[in-house]
């Protein structure tokens, strides 16, 4: 077992123990949301960090998953467990559809198209009143069945559900990225797409795979968010969400998966913790952290141990 694997395992174990050690509603709320953000950050890293396809639209995929899950449960009384799957599938499908045009685009252009897509999703969410509830969003839908009733016990159980789904998802992404030929293809595309093609890598197929996987897991994170927060409004699709996620990944370290997870947990903690200092300073700090890390530590926390 490598050192990194041990550290990962220890972090996962520590995170899972948190509700037992600190059964405080506020700590639990922040911890649960931080874990959801960790999944979103990891999904962004798979597409943009590993494969080098810069998405500025992950808020859109996240929102799609959240809206699809919430709408399925509210309007069709779909079980939340199935709702998670519905959200992830719809987000993956839209991600795949985005992937096709994106095959022709690189770098800046792809970033801007995905940003435009997220903005379109936000506008649809805001204006399609019948399905999305407009600016007020979707609320009053049920959450996971079979969880304990007590307020604190419910939060604890909810936290464990979220941790289980997120750990499972990140493990799948890690397997794909580090242990399969797909992961090698992702990195080859990032480093030099033309070279990857000449080596016989089907870049089209692997880019589409990266799009589908990444947007699907972003949608899954959205579904978890919906059932946890019990409110989905157009705000989740705003560019600020994407901005925070990208900040988390850069903070943690692009192209490592575990770095973004760590970055999400720490940055979300910082973000929420600084609310005590002053409601507005948390975003000032997030912006500052992003700039400092991009300039001085482009490899993020994950790269601090290694020489830059």
């Amino acid at each position: 077992m490598t050192t990194r694997a041990r550290v990962t395992l220890a972090a996962v174990g520590g995170a899972a123990l948190l509700p037992v050690l600190l059964p405080h509603p506020f700590v639990l709320t922040i911890a649960t949301q931080a874990v959801i953000w960790a999944l979103l950050a990891a999904s962004w890293d798979l597409l943009s960090g590993y494969t080098g396809q810069i998405s500025f639209g992950h808020a859109g995929f996240f929102a799609l998953g959240a809206y699809a899950a919430a709408a399925a449960t509210k309007h069709a009384d779909v079980s939340p467990w199935l709702g998670l799957l519905v959200g992830a599938t719809i987000a993956a499908a839209v991600g795949l559809l985005t992937g096709f045009p994106a095959l022709r685009l690189r770098g800046h252009y792809l970033a801007l198209v995905t940003l435009g897509l997220a903005e379109i999703i936000r506008l649809v969410a805001q204006n399609w009143l019948a399905l999305t509830g407009g600016p007020f969003g979707i609320h009053d839908f049920r959450s996971f069945p079979g969880l304990p009733d007590g307020a604190l016990a419910h939060r604890q159980a909810m936290y464990l559900v979220v941790v289980a789904v997120v750990v499972g998802s990140v493990a799948v992404m890690y397997q794909v990225c580090e242990r399969t030929s797909a992961g090698q293809a992702f990195r080859a595309i990032r480093e030099d797409e033309v070279l990857a093609q000449t080596l016989g890598i089907d870049t089209t197929r692997y880019k589409l795979l990266a799009f589908a996987l990444s947007s699907g897991f972003a949608g899954l994170a959205g579904g978890l968010y919906a059932y946890y927060v019990q409110l989905v409004s157009p705000v989740v699709a705003s560019a600020a969400t994407t901005s925070l996620v990208i900040g988390m990944v850069v903070f943690g370290g692009l192209g490592t998966l575990w770095g973004p997870v760590l970055g999400a947990l720490l940055l979300y903690g910082l973000y929420e913790g600084l609310r005590f200092v002053g409601v507005v300073y948390n975003l000032v700090a997030v912006g500052f952290v992003i700039m400092v890390f991009v300039i001085f530590f482009p490899r993020g926390l994950a790269g601090l141990g290694r020489s830059a």
């Binding site: 022709r104 435009g116 990208i246 975003l283 992003i290």
Partner: protein
């Protein structure tokens, strides 16, 4: 029918002036620095706040507010290259930039926007118009403030294009946009041109912010939606092509204002993004862009 057509057309023209002030600078910055300035809208907001500070807090005339916004955002813009972009460039060396500049300016955007929130609060601030009165055109009426936006856009953009065409510094800017290595070999001081271009670009947005403040109100996030829309406009006009951005600004604004006759107005904002995505699929270089080589 004809009357409302004319009315929407005039509204579209005024909006186009604003878009042009915003998008031409964004496109110029991209053409010269190869950096997409995600924080462009925050300079628009800062321009609005400077106008507010000059006119409402210091009781200075409106023109001083606009001038203050121009100078203030220009000076702030001068700092962006040496403080943020140059250090990252040095650190990257020759390695591919990937998303890093985009992420950097995204960080700057978040930082500036939330700093404005911390300093000035989230209230919508009213700024009195720089000029009052209404021009009656018979079919429709246009406030002088809106005409001022259009006139300022015309004057400033003419000045900018004349600067790029005739002034030695402007020629240097265009030379760097064409080929920065060759420009450097000819003795052009690249960091100076980069800093100047960025400052000029954001100052245009700052003036736009000061002039639009009486029409939009001022709040920290006022510029961000404009940034996203300006991306669509610059893609339509061809990225790095300021003249293309100018034409595209008016195409988008007029399409938007005329669309109200056909579709509900809350969907108006979709048009620019739909156009952008179609454009990228059909002709990624934009209407007037150079061939895309990467």
């Amino acid at each position: 029918m004809l009357e409302s057509l004319l009315e929407f057309l005039i509204q579209g023209l005024v909006l186009g002036g604003l878009y042009a002030l915003f998008a031409v600078g964004l496109s110029l910055i991209f053409g010269v620095l190869d950096v997409i300035n995600v924080a462009h809208g925050e300079f628009f907001a800062i321009g609005g706040y400077l106008a507010f500070a000059a006119v409402v807090l210091l009781h200075l005339p409106g023109a001083v507010g606009v001038l203050g916004a121009a100078v203030g955002t220009f000076l702030l813009g001068l700092c962006v290259y040496p403080l943020l972009i140059a250090p990252l460039k040095r650190r990257l060396g020759g390695r591919p930039q990937g998303p890093l500049y985009l992420v950097l300016t995204l960080g700057l955007s978040t930082f500036l926007q939330s700093s404005l929130l911390a300093i000035a609060g989230g209230d919508y601030l009213r700024v009195p118009p720089q000029v009052s009165g209404i021009l009656d055109l018979g079919v429709t009426a246009v406030s002088h403030q809106r005409l001022l936006v259009l006139a300022a856009a015309a004057v400033l953009l003419t000045a900018l294009f004349a600067f790029l065409r005739f002034h030695p510094e402007g020629l240097a800017v265009r030379a760097v946009a064409l080929n920065s290595d060759a420009a450097q070999a000819m003795g052009i001081n690249l960091p100076r041109i980069f800093a100047l271009t960025l400052a000029l670009g954001v100052a245009l947005a700052g003036v736009g912010g000061a002039l639009m403040a009486p029409l939009f109100n001022v709040y920290p996030a006022v510029g961000f939606p404009l940034t996203i829309k300006a991306f669509a406009i610059t893609i339509l006009g061809g990225m790095g092509n300021p003249a293309g951005a100018l034409v595209a600004s008016f195409l988008v604004s007029i399409a938007e204002s005329l669309s109200v006759m056909v579709i509900p107005s809350q969907w108006q904002n979709l048009i620019a993004f739909a156009v952008m995505i179609v454009m990228l699929l059909v002709r990624p270089r934009g209407l007037f862009g150079r061939a895309v080589s990467r």
